[in-house]
Amino acid sequence: MNAAFTAEELQFQEDARQFLEAEFPKDIRAKVEQRIRLEKDDYVRWQKILFEKGWAAPNWPEEHGGTGWTAVQKYIFAEQMARFGAPEPVAFGMKMVAPVIYSYGNEEQKKRFLPDILASNVWWCQGYSEPNSGSDLASLKTSAVREGDHYIVNGTKTWNTLGQYADWIFCLVRTDNSVKKQEGISFLLIDMKTPGIKVSPIYLIDGTPEVNEVYFENVKVPVENLIGEENQGWTYAKVLLTHERTNIAGVPRSKVRLEKLRALAAKIADGHGGALGDDPIFKKKIAEAEIQVLALEYAELRALAAVSVGKAPGPESSILKVVGTEVAQFIDELYMELAALQSLPFVPDQFTEGFSGEEVGENGEAATALNYFNNRKASIYGGSNEIQKNIICKAVLGL
């Protein structure tokens, strides 16, 4: 692991920058800058541009369409993406189900599903959590009973993000009740158009219907949609969760947000004739966040270095999840503090495409409290931060 980039890496950084400058659609970039919520079409359009370039899935093996980049290149690319405010490809297809399919699926499944994920032709969502199975995910009860060539699925999934857009859902389902809870779970792919599926929005406190409950009533799923072996789903899911956790550190995004925060603070009046950016208390808070991000960045680089010499992402990835989400939430707090009284208006329409009314506040100030509220989810999802600490206790510290 080197602290400085090589000449090739610097060239790659420049290539990535030029690509984003030229190809990241200006209208989407403007939306991101004005904090307008992106729609399905924005994500898909951008992901298809990445696909055309061959850069849609840096983490995939090359044989399935991955970029073959080194860990450092992936890192550089992620940083450039964040710098332009370019959204990461929606994780559910690209980063979550695809690794399970190419690792544990059969050849036919790989051929059937991976190309459409890579080209963003199909939108995937996740069916893991249930109303009574949150942190204790393995206690899930949604059942899949084999009847001839089909499974009959019954149950309820919750915290399903953006399922309203989805074509397919990957689910953990119970296929055996007679064994230890982790041993009776299977990994099933389900077409959202199948009769018996109902998607019902859950409104969050920021006013958005970002998540859903998904109800399954006698949903017939062909057995060929089972990934790997029956009752091995928990093993596959755990691998997937480790991938999810490494993606969760969000260092590039946090760095860019802190840079922008600093720039905004330099412009915003402190009410006493100076700028907030010169206020010693606020300055200290930004500095603390920057230091935490630096420590996190090098923790991530160490984890990446371990992966690059052939080790799977280990329980150390829990560190990235805990610290990455906590620092992001701290940055949310700083943005809210920066906006002060202008963080209080609840004007979600102002951040929806097509708003033409009179705006309240500047620089997206009125979005800061909403972001703070919404992003409290980050320490809850992907295995809550309490669960991550359990993992560290058991798998690392041997407690």
């Binding site: 959590s129 009574n132 199975s133 949150g134 942190s135 204790d136 206690s139 919750t158 915290w159 859950i202 409104y203 969050l204 406190i205 006013g207 998540v211 915003i268 009046a269 402190d270 009410g271 006493h272 004739g273 907030l276 208390i281 606020f282 707090e333 809210m336 503090e337 002060a340 009284l341 202008q342 963080s343 209080l344 208006p345 609840f346 004007v347 009179e358 309240v360 500047e362 409290a369 909403l370 703070y372 509220f373 919404n374 409290r376 989810k377 320490s379 809850i380 999802y381 809550s384 931060n385 309490e386 600490k389």
Partner: protein
Amino acid sequence: MLQDSVQKFVHRHYSFDDRSAILESSKGYSEQCWELFAELGWLTVPFSEDDGGFGGLATDMMVLLEEFGKAMVVEPFVPTAVLSGGLIAALGNEQQKEQNLVPLMEGKLQLAAALYEADGRYNLASVSTIARRDGQDYVVNGGKILVLNGEAAKQLLVSVRTAGASRDEQGISVVLIDSDSTGVHKKAYTTVDGHRAAQISFTDVRVPVANCLGTEGEALSAVLSAVDRATLCVSAEAVGALDMLLQKTVEYSKTRKQFGTAIGTFQALQHRMADMFIECQLARSIVMMAAMKLDSDIPDEEKARAVSAAKSRVGRAIRKVGQEAVQLHGGIGITNELDVGHLFKRVTGIETLFGNSDFHTARFASF
């Protein structure tokens, strides 16, 4: 007695569902509830007996507001009765009091104080809204942000500069401006915590000089005192809301089962709830301290210092208890359907209102 009366009111008229319906209504608060406030005498609580009130004790307001906080009452008690009413009581002449305080206490007049400006942050002396004298009128130009109850208010109490430069402590006056005056433009909105507010601009608004409250140019100290009393009130409201967050979290931890047992049996979570309890108790204690100081005969500066101490410390409790309540509830804690998310939003709003912890810590240190 006051506590008992609010608890009865909440029990009868202010369930979570009642409140949700009120939020959806066009005014954003309930006129029936407001009438009840008047009937029950609550609108007289902020005022001295000389002004026809119940006594004006901060300790009484604390009791009232704490109960409001538990139920997340959205009726504009603080903007109308404490903040605007307090300014009129402090600065107004007999006629101005007669015309405003009497209908206010009868529940017939809504008021709002327009004190904060976009580039002033929390500094109440940062006043760039200008009132230029023209014959027997002022001509007012400028703008205010986050005017609580600005939409419903019939009269606005606006801090204006009648002399000096934009952050001078001298030269600030408070004028009563009729909401219907030509040149008053309101952009009304709901706040993140379910209250109504407005951003208001004034373009060549003509106001009779007689509408100035108190001596021209000398209003700042009264503004600061009125805001301090309002700050004490929202801090007390937060104390009630934080207690409720703790109570809801403890209840939930006893019923939510994961890994075959109630999550409240996990020691890691128990200690976090114990920490929440400690925060709630410290918040209550320091607000009580500030309320007692406001009711005593100490100099204004000491009162201000006490209020800043309270708001600063309550702000810290809000961060901690609010975030932990949500985290311990998990995803359900950030949904609209549960009261916990709404309590979290209200206390977060209060954290910013009238200056956040950093502002009040610095103010505490400045005396």
